[in-house]
Symmetry: C2
Subunit: 454 residues, 2 copies
């Protein structure tokens, strides 16, 4: 397909997206007729349907240009959100709807469950020293760079806000890098194994940092000062939770799913797996962690070997069963994140400056990862570049930060991640994600990797 | 497997269900720790996970005894609901949670979408005169019987309540009968084709009656008197909506899905299909119909031929993609329906009497269907018995009735289907559904069908 052809099709998609916005505006502005008689406001049905279509069209537009679909979903949400600047009131209703928010949260829980399912404890142990060193460097350096940038640009904000912004720079979005590596047929190379292993460890480290920072913010919001012992308690709880989940995976889960395998009714596997994921997500929230940590842990401890009974009788693999569920729920999260971006902040020069420097810190910070590779003959440049994208994980952090509050000078609760910071983080996520596929391709095609070994 | 073995396993399942209730009680009673920081109350994660497990265990128990899983899900909900009689407060929280209600509504929308997908306009036309006659008789007679029974037992209620209770007796639950026929290898017989065809027409007629009655109730609640012209307008709107949906199916849907088939990103088919279903459900609500009518219409007009582009590139069939989605959402509806049954009404003799006579009306009313068979050599007894189960459709009607209100003598809004009526309808649904598999098996094994031809 020629470049021209792609361009024309993309224009069609853009047009469809705009038309969708227009229809949505007309439809949502109309008063809802049969609403009173149903427990559920029909408005939610419309919002859900239109968000799905917007996500698919936006995703398709980006897929056409070899870009990750998640960016298209995010920008589709921003495009719909732009209508609120034009005074369209229903965008605000979607932004604040409790059911839409719940569906988005379910989406991100299912997403982290899937990411957890893709990795398992044994594989993580095998990747070895390089992955661990790459991961730790790739977390520590961007964390302090982000902290410093936030301190410089937001001097009036409390220190915990600076720390939180640092935390949003930590995690690597494994999905985008994995997709580029797979598309180039390089998934089995040493570079790939190190990048993917490090990205998984990054996720865990990032979630731990998030737990500690969020816990500190909650303690501070409750009026308590943050003692070093509190940090230790929160970190300890997180580690204990993950350890308990791993132990449960070792000793409890095999029995549980062997028992479930004896059940004959329809949909047992997907029902038990999702129930397990939701219960662990709830348990994580009970010990003060984000629910997504529990969902990730649930995925980590579940493994295909637990589902032998189901596979033997010809049922589908769990990841196939989850695929339509995540196709319906995950885009709702990213469209809602896009919707929540207050586009008016992009008109403020200081926000754009903050976003630019934050993005630079995110890119530069991860290049230190190249130093973490202990083996010889590995393309270190590719490792550093492959760690750049923040993707969904950065957005998830920003979303959590928008829900956390700290008292301001007059004691009123204000969100840790305000409109300006949220906008800057979205810019950082978009740029790091957009820039990775081309530069990673370039680095991998550049040579055998020997030429960048110092 | 011996009868004894089944009994022992079922005892295990019962025990697991009770243990689940205990755990849930302890867990849900504990104060939620990390709730404030997240948009979603983690309580919903716990409720969702436990409702899924309760549904699966209850469903499995009934599957073991060759009974429909839906009954097990309903009774599992009632068992959990019984804890509220023992003073457990969190049951009330689950009953009234907006997100749980929304998930249940999504479940019933997906269920009706699936039912619609299973039938198509052409097949409905082919079943011919017998199916239509059986369906009309099977709707008219139970409708007036139910009306009369309600009039006798609830003399103080407004006439519209009697009419609504009559409407809940109309529809046949196609799922349960189809399962029995399939299990016996009789799906291709004339009896089966007539029963299933009539059940589909029943669904449409029942949904039309529901639309008219619910419209009348809403008009009356708004203070307006119910003129014959209003009924005509509501019926006209319903017919116009279905006609418009069918026309869209003929002329618009093929283009829409051919276009969607060109999109390359993941999950296009399931996303577009579900978005279409939700948008039609919303459109139905806008013209005053129940959202499930729109979902059913969406399923009716979608057909495998529209998805050729997806099937050609090796994607799964839509019903396979929807299967995990419905496995996760549909049971939430039935468990919630069970939870909403106020068990204390079963202690009132007049409710039990009402339930018994209503059930009798439901069973006897459908036996008239046998007279609607115009062909010779058909097992008429089996046709009448096969139409008995009310299953999910009766529950859906009762759920809608519980959300509709009418002013009482002092002008206060009271639900059309109150606690006592809801309990009686649930008993009717459970008994008609339980009784059908054994009597239908008996009638089919009884003879070639010639012996019951008069």
């Amino acid at each position: 397909m020629s470049r021209r052809r792609v361009g024309k099709k993309s224009l069609c998609l853009c047009g469809a997206l705009l038309a969708l916005g227009g229809v949505a505006g007309a439809a949502l502005a109309a008063p809802s007729g049969g609403g009173a008689a149903h427990a559920l406001d029909p408005f939610v049905l419309l919002a859900f349907g239109l968000m799905l279509l917007a996500a698919k069209l936006g995703g398709e537009l980006f897929t056409k240009f070899d870009q990750p679909a998640v960016l298209g979903e995010l920008l589709a949400g921003m495009a719909v959100g732009a209508l609120s600047l034009a005074g369209v009131g229903w965008v605000e209703a979607v932004r604040n709807d409790a059911v839409v928010a719940a569906l988005a949260e379910f989406g991100v829980i299912i997403l982290l469950f899937e990411v957890g399912l893709e990795s398992n404890v044994k594989e993580m142990a095998e990747v070895g020293a390089s992955a661990l060193l790459v991961a730790v460097l790739g977390v520590v350096v961007p964390f302090f760079l982000g902290w410093g940038v936030a301190f410089y640009f937001l001097p009036d904000e409390p220190a915990l806000v600076h720390v939180f912004i640092g935390a949003t720079l930590c995690a690597t979005s494994v999905g985008i890098t994995a997709r580029v590596l797979r598309d180039m047929g390089r998934l089995q190379t040493r570079e790939s194994r190190i990048i993917l292993g490090a990205a998984v460890i990054d996720d865990v480290l990032g979630l731990l940092i998030l737990a500690v920072v969020a816990g500190a913010i909650r303690a501070s919001a409750a009026g308590g000062a943050l003692a070093a012992s509190d940090v230790a308690v929160i970190a300890g709880k997180s580690v204990a939770f993950l350890a308990a989940a791993l132990l449960a995976g070792q000793f409890l889960v095999p029995h549980l799913f062997r028992g479930a395998g004896r059940l004959q009714s329809r949909g047992v596997l997907v029902t038990f797996a999702v129930a397990f994921c939701f219960l662990l997500a709830w348990a994580a929230a009970q010990v003060g962690l984000a629910p997504i940590v529990g969902a990730f842990a649930a995925g980590l401890v579940l493994d295909e070997v637990h589902f032998e009974a189901f596979l033997k009788r010809g049922e589908q693999h769990l990841h196939e069963l989850l695929s339509p569920v995540s196709a319906l729920l995950v885009p709702i999260f990213f469209v809602l994140m896009g919707l929540k971006v207050d586009l008016s902040v992009f008109g403020r020069v200081e926000v754009l400056g903050f976003a630019a420097v934050l993005t630079l810190a995110a890119v530069v910070g991860k290049q230190v990862c190249a130093l973490g590779v202990v083996e010889r003959g590995v393309n270190r440049l590719a490792v550093g570049l492959g760690m750049i994208p923040r993707g969904e994980v950065g957005l998830i952090f920003a979303g959590i930060g928008a829900a956390l509050t700290l008292p301001d000078a007059r004691g009123a609760a204000v969100p840790v991640v305000g409109a300006a910071t949220f906008g800057a983080v979205v810019i950082m996520v978009v740029v790091t994600t957009l820039v990775t596929p081309p530069v990673l391709k370039w680095a991998l095609q550049r040579g055998t990797g020997e030429d960048v070994n110092r």
